[in-house]
């Protein structure tokens, strides 16, 4: 009791384990190899058609975001489904002003999401600050903190505009131009 032993692991992320007669590799090596082949097109097709977003409303844009996820707009036809947990989600929508106090919580949510993951900036508040542009408590230039793929202007944007933003993101993923993956 009292002593903490260092946990030994059988695998290493840096270099493959050397076994005579056996070719070993790592998961990241496989991913890096696949990115250069046509198989990535198939993977991206699957990814772009299952863009599950995190239900994390931050302001009045959050109401439009929830309305987009409801039955009327039927975003399931694009594979866009609202999820309640960041661990289930692929897309984070910054749907409002980011205050200095909320930014650490938002970063924590972002880190909980499994890769590949994308960010959409929804509404004027998240893009430039909106009416809270020169406020003492809001964070400016949120795109320096998160790799934002699509900016959706509006105050707040219509649900159709949000769906359009998702479609733009799908096109970026198809063209391998998205910032959620390193190509």
């Amino acid at each position: 009791m009292g002593e903490v032993k260092e946990k030994k692991t059988n695998y290493s992320t840096e270099t493959p384990e050397e076994i005579p007669g056996v070719i070993t590799t790592t998961t990241s090596a496989i991913h890096n190899f696949l990115k250069k082949t046509k198989a990535q097109d198939l993977i991206n097709w699957g990814r772009k058609n299952s863009l599950w977003f995190m239900t994390q409303p931050m302001g009045c844009c959050g109401v439009e975001m929830i309305a987009t996820g409801c039955a009327h707009y039927d975003t399931d036809r694009f594979g866009i489904i609202p999820r309640n947990s960041p661990r289930h989600a692929d897309v984070m929508i910054i749907s409002g002003y980011v205050t200095k106090k909320y930014l650490p919580a938002l970063k924590r949510l972002w880190e909980q999401m499994p890769a590949p993951k994308w960010v959409l900036a929804m509404g004027d508040c998240s893009i430039s600050g909106g009416p809270f542009y020169e406020s003492y408590s809001t964070v400016q230039n949120i795109d320096e903190v998160f790799p934002i793929d699509v900016f959706i202007p509006g105050c707040p944007p219509r649900p159709e505009a949000l769906i359009q933003g998702f479609v733009e993101l799908q096109e970026k993923i198809t063209a391998k131009k998205d910032r959620g993956t390193d190509y």
Partner: protein
């Protein structure tokens, strides 16, 4: 009691502490209070004049006079009168006695006034920022000489 009776009772009880007492309208009265006597005046208002509802505590900055003011709005359920009680504080060390022992709901009002204006409420049970993050303490964003606005820093607008 009407507004005139309340003012006369207040100035009669605290002739040195209360100054510039006035009647704006039959339902609004105002007075300046000495900052050392603010808690005693509030205690008297609550116990003897039935002013049992503290509406708000806030601050005002006057850079030309080098003064901060702590403003209390105190209302009564028995009389249709709202009293605006103000206390002048020096701008370099604004300190005033907390009125939480008198009006318990002043707790969060005083915390917010503290984080926005830097007015220190002595003997407050838990004087820490209410809404702003801890690292913004000391910037006092609602003072007039605050220069921390991120002026024209949004790159994507330029």
């Amino acid at each position: 009691m009407d507004a005139r009776t309340i003012i006369e009772s207040l100035t009669g009880k605290f002739p040195e502490a209360i100054s510039e007492a006035g009647i704006e309208s039959p339902i609004r009265i105002q007075a300046y209070v000495d900052k050392d006597k603010a808690k005693e005046v509030c205690q008297y208002l609550k116990d003897s004049l039935q002013f049992d509802h503290l509406c708000s505590v806030c601050g005002v900055d006057y850079p030309q006079r080098n003064e901060l003011e702590a403003v209390y709005h105190i209302a009564s359920y028995d009389h249709a009168v709202v009293l605006t009680l103000k206390a002048r504080l020096p701008r370099d060390s604004p300190e005033i006695e907390s009125i939480v022992p008198v009006y318990w709901n002043a707790n969060w009002y005083e915390r917010e006034t503290y984080e926005l204006y830097g007015i220190v409420f002595k003997n407050h049970p838990n004087l820490k920022p209410l809404v702003l993050p801890e690292e913004m303490l000391g910037e006092w964003p609602l003072r007039k000489d605050y220069e921390g606005f991120p002026n024209k820093t949004a790159r994507n607008l330029v």
